[in-house]
């Protein structure tokens, strides 16, 4: 591999670290969704995931994110109004 100058190397390293951190956050979030959605959507474990379970899992992720956004926005409003 070609040698990189000090600055370019540092920038490249920083980019790699940032990408790695983003992937770690993504993965941690998926573990978190699994904790909630596995129990909600998967009753029996048959030969394959049926389409109802697949839909339930995808909806579960999306509704959980909707809930997070809704809770966060409402909380911000309450805080701005200065009390609840």
């Amino acid at each position: 591999m070609a040698e990189l100058g000090g600055e370019a190397e540092a920038a490249e390293l920083q980019r790699l670290v940032a990408a790695e951190e983003q992937r770690a956050r993504f993965t941690a979030q998926v573990h978190n969704f699994m904790e909630v959605c596995w129990d909600k959507c998967v009753d029996k474990t048959g030969a394959k995931l049926d389409s109802r379970t697949e839909t339930c899992l995808a909806n579960c992720v999306n509704r959980f994110i909707d809930t997070t956004l809704s809770v966060t926005n409402r909380f911000a409003q309450i805080v701005q109004k200065g009390g609840h």
């Binding site: 909630v36 959605c37 909600k40 959507c41 339930c56 909806n59 579960c60 999306n62 509704r63 959980f64 909707d66 809930t67 997070t68 809704s70 809770v71 966060t72 409402r74 909380f75 309450i78 805080v79 200065g82 009390g83 609840h84």
Partner: protein, 71 residues
Amino acid sequence: QVKVQIAVANAQELLQRMTDKCFRKCIGKPGSSLDNSEQKCIAMCMDRYMDAWNTVSRAYNSRLQRERANM
């Protein structure tokens, strides 16, 4: 005033736990969008969660003060 300050200081942790509890309470089988009744349930659940947080916080604070007075 004070209650909101306490809440803000640890807002992220509070939001995560509140979201988790209210999602579990309000969403049975997750559908293709949050329907009206689910949204209302979440808003109410949030308010009750923060009420409960304040009640718990006050009860703990009183107890700490009583324990200190007895030392």
